[in-house]
Amino acid sequence: MSPAAPGTTTGSTAYETGIGGLGEPPANAYLSVRDLRVHFPTDDGIVKSVDGLSFDLARGKTLGIVGESGSGKSVTSLSIMGLHKPGTVRMQGSIRLDGQELVGAPAETVRGLRGKKMAMIFQDPLSAMHPFYTVGDQIIEAYQVHNKVPKKAARAHAIDLLGRVGIPQPNKRVDDYPHQFSGGMRQRAMIAMALSCDPDLLIADEPTTALDVTVQAQILDLIRDLQRDFDAAVIIITHDLGVVAELADDILVMYAGRSVEYASAHGVFNEPQHPYTWGLMASMPRLDRDPADRLMPIKGTPPSLISVPPGCPFSPRCAYAARVGAACVTERPAFHAPTSAHYLACHLDDGERMQIWSDEIEPNL
Amino acid sequence: MSNPRKKRLLAVTAAAAVTALGLAACSGSSGGSNNAATTTTAAFDAANGKIFNPSDKKGGTITMADEGEPDSTDPGDSYYGYTWDLMRLYGRGLVMFDVAPGDGSSKLSGDLADGLGKPSENAKTWTYKLKSGLKFEDGTAITSKDIKYAITRTLDKDIFPDAPTYFDDLLAWPADYKGAYKSKGVDVKSAIDTPDDSTIIFHLKNSFSGFDYLMTTSQAYPVPEAKDTGAKYKEHPISSGPYMFATYEAGKKFTLKRNPNWDAATDPQRKALPDGYEYSMNVNQDDIDNRIIAGDLDIHVTGTGVTPATQGKVLSDPNLKARADNPTLARLWYTSIPTTVAPLDNKDCRMAIMYAMDRTAYQTAYGGAFAGGAIATSLMPPLIPGSLKKDFYPSQDNKGDLTKAKEALTKCGKPDGFEITMAFRNERPKEKALAEAFQQQLAKVGIKVTPKGFAKKDYFSTYAGNPPYVKANNIGLAANGWGADWNDGYGFLAQIVDSRVIRETGGSSNISVRMPEVDKLIDQAAVETDNAKREALYGQIDTLVMDNAVIYPGVWAKALLVRGKTLTNVFVNQAYGMYDYTSLGKQ
């Protein structure tokens, strides 16, 4: 979705003051997140799982969110869905779904949107389905919350959906229990459940991580096909860049709860600009690469979310921090778009960055 | 004896030659209930020695509860004081204790019989004549044969293991006679002869002057052979009294209703005021107390008194206390001092214990003055004719005389004291408390007491009542107790001071008294026909035992009873040590 957020930086002051750095959402944005902060007060301190995150997403488009484990991807998606346990979380910023503000909205309002306007697919389909109810019942239930239809119609709908997500003999399998399904089928059923009310936004949080490689591809294909059919806005969360490479229109790279790079998929893949993204690319297995050649994981570990370094959160691990100097350690880099529609948060100046990219990174990928 | 609820067996074998006249002659002293003292003011002990709320009003149902079960409702198979009190409602014997408060009940009268038994010259043959017009509940006449049958059936201890063995041992049964069931058709004329329907003659193996007492026991209530159902008879004993069984649920409940064939004209003693009785078994005792206090229940039937918890409540609340009675029972809680255990073979060492022990501590261990009893200074409880009024080992406030105790110790050559073990029954917290009281008090004069508990059921057979064990285990003190079957010196003393009842294999209640002169006095009393002289003889026995310091008398037992809220005509029948169940009425 190239024309979405990254391309539109018509700033209003309200948004520009935020570290999120994105301006007023474009008119076609179905979902726009601005400067989202999700903090969990715990006994050890405040866990800043998401701390300044912004993006836009239009209907029919797919956003890929990538980042290491613990970078706040799931927290982000649960925040959009309003699924955090009430009382355990502090949310700030803005999440607008179809123009409706969700941050601070009454729980009941958000509940009414869940399933109907936005739906979610989880990583582990086995644990995400209730073991004591049949797959059909669980889909029927999802359908009936928002649609006052008789059980029979809901069941027909469920069978239809199961068929559409590629379950063979759906009228039989509809009465099976989750444990009677294979992993891939379960995820298909989860997708059917998520799609039961024809949602406008579908969030898939690592939908394929628990599946084996061939099934992964099938599921991703399915999501792509369905998106086309349903014309939904889709967020695919993954720490595997490969997954989003084929699927996403835009890509948001997260690090320590923040957006560090945000651009079109093409932009991120072909001209990544942030040192962290470079690291991700380098550690990504590629088919066109000799597997024995190099797989270079990023050195070090992400910072504790309770005490994030004051400057750039990536600075302890960044090979280029030295070139910038003190700013990397003391000053939080602004999320800005040096070139149109390609946002990033890094102190490196544009020329140097381009140089590093073309001299050191690109040749080695 | 081991179970305070249980009457004791009269050791008929030891009765030896008892002359005929004695007990028969002693009747006729005190009056019946007609001229008894009465009161209508609710007060502590208002029904003890007096009739509380006298009334002739008929009607209502009296509710009774038992924390356990009676051994049987079959009069031929029961040996509890309270069941003997109760069974008079649906059974009558040839003789009965007068239904009267205070000493009134010590008098015997004919019940089914027109008077007391007529003994032969040597008191070996006893003849009774039945009143006329006596009927069972089914309308059939009660004859002498029904009494004979009743007694012969209870000889079958296979079927009736609970009944006492008085008759087995006392009467001249044919050889190998095994009772009405197993020796069916055998002529028992040698033991019981019924020349006609209204005459019954008992032939005894030995003279026994107390035979009339036996005739008061439920075992001699008539049973119609045609209606006898053996072990199942208890579900519906055929009544000869004013009430009969209406319902019976084993282990739970039975109810009595009026017996239409009972004729009050033949029965001047039983008032038969209520229309019925309801008897619940296995009721939680705390609940029994609460329900009596609340007025939901009339009688705690076993007559053992309230629980310690209720006792506190009753004594501290004047309203409740006014509903309580505190009768003395013919029971002594005592401690045996075996003379076979060194150095207690020395009288002075025993005397040291007699002096050193604190009587008030004894009383406290047993629950205090109300639930425990009165401090005993000799053996025979005051209820028993001939009981002594002498303190053999006096001390300031009954607290024990340590100076005298030390002197005694010096005299016996153990000025620094000695070590002994005190036996008690594990199941009895009071006895445990007693052993600890002995331990504490005797330590003051250097006598080291080690309390040691034993299982109740083996206490006499294996441990404290087993002489070799006592000796080998240095048991110098043993918690003990005794209650009389009926209130006379013989009934009280014979089993606990006669050395001839001691069995070397164990099982005797006499643990410590081995005095030939006492044995001689017992035999002498058994043949003494003069009441006053006989009572004096029992007093002498008591004195000898006390002087010789082989029994430490503790408390003469008392029970704290609470009267049902709406009961009339309530009084304690001393013969049973609890309320008389035949005279109660409802407001």
């Binding site: 869940r114 399933g115 995400a128 919350v145 444990h179 | 079958d156 063995t165 008879y233 296995n282």
Partner: protein
């Protein structure tokens, strides 16, 4: 017996049947083993401890019985037979009955003859039949109350974890668990029955078939007292289970569907937490059916529990043996039912 967790998997109809039959046979075997153990405890151990046939028999006769009476009783009770003969006679009687001499007649104790109490001179089995309705009534009423009450409180506490309600409920529950039933029972009797007169006094029981209203009235206080104890346990148990299930992924899914929180909590949360509750409930009920000892004793209810205590108090061996076997039967049976219920509740067990 296999616990509720370890079990075979019964898929289709026939295997289910064979599974049930297999379990039934195992249950029967277990009961036999239990009877042998109880028999050993009460008949063999005393012999090892030095008891003779006569000393064993003294429990069945008056305390003042003569040696001959005791000998007769020992003979009648079969105490002179070798122990395995005694056991076999007892065991056999369950299937073919037995006969007893009543003196005037020979009484036949028909199968299932669980022996004959020589203390009360009654056969044991009719006693048990007679007592069971009381215990069943007590258990049924109390279990309904505690299930409704305990589980509700547990669920609400879990949902409002840390709230005033939660803390108050858990404090009361702790009290409920710690207070012995003879205390709560006697206090509530004193207050509600005797002081206020609202409930029936101790010892009241009207059979359900006689008068249902009176039945409920007479058992109300025992029900409440007994269920107080269990409610407390179940509230805590349910709360813990709910807290755990409410963290499950499928709860998040349910919420993601936009289900109202009631549906999420009850249909998804409680249903998920149900398995351990049902397991414990089944076992508790099975245990209780064998006799609610303390409650029955406190309220003087003539159920199996009081029968057991009374039998033990009187050392009435045939009664002890009979009632223990019945209690064991209930436990084994409820275990079996729980296992089968497990398959009803959890389709993974049913169809794995």
């Amino acid at each position: 017996m296999a616990g509720p967790v370890s079990r075979g998997r019964p898929p289709d109809a026939l295997p289910v049947l064979t599974y049930v039959i297999r379990r039934l046979i195992a249950a029967a075997m277990l009961l036999i083993v239990v009877s042998m153990i109880v028999f050993t405890i009460f008949y063999v151990f005393p012999r090892w401890a030095g008891a003779t046939p006569e000393t064993l028999a003294t429990r069945y006769v008056g305390r003042t019985a003569t040696a001959e009476t005791v000998h007769l009783a020992a003979q009648r009770l079969g105490f002179y037979d070798p122990i395995w003969v005694q056991y076999w006679n007892w065991f056999k009687a369950i299937f073919v009955g037995s006969t007893y001499d009543m003196g005037t007649s020979i009484e036949h104790c028909p199968a299932p003859c669980l022996g004959y109490s020589f203390q009360s001179k009654t056969p044991v089995w009719p006693d048990l039949l007679d007592r069971a309705p009381v215990t069943f009534s007590l258990a049924a009423g109390a279990s309904i109350i505690w299930l409704l009450f305990g589980v509700t409180v547990g669920v609400v506490s879990a949902v409002r974890k840390g709230s005033l309600f939660d803390r108050a409920a858990m404090t009361v529950a702790l009290a409920g668990i710690s207070l012995p039933i003879y205390f709560t029972g006697l206090v509530s009797l004193a207050v509600f029955s005797y002081a206020l007169g609202w409930t029936a006094p101790g010892g009241s029981y009207t059979p359900l078939t006689t008068n249902p209203a009176q039945w409920a009235y007479s058992l109300l206080l025992p029900w409440i007292t007994l269920s107080f104890l269990f409610s407390a346990t179940y509230a805590r148990f349910t709360r813990a289970g709910m807290l755990e299930t409410m963290n499950e992924d499928y709860i998040r899914t349910a919420r993601a569907k936009g289900l109202p929180s009631r549906t999420v909590t009850l249909k998804h949360g409680l249903r998920g937490a149900l398995t351990p509750i049902v397991t414990v409930f089944g076992l508790d009920l099975g245990l209780l059916l064998g006799g609610a000892v303390l409650t029955e004793k406190t309220f003087s209810l003539n159920g199996l529990g009081k029968y057991t205590v009374d039998a033990i108090g009187n050392q009435d061996l045939p009664r002890i043996l009979g009632v223990t076997l019945l209690a064991a039967f209930f436990i084994v049976f409820s275990n079996l039912v729980v296992d089968l219920l497990y398959a009803v509740i959890d389709p993974r067990v049913r169809t794995a």
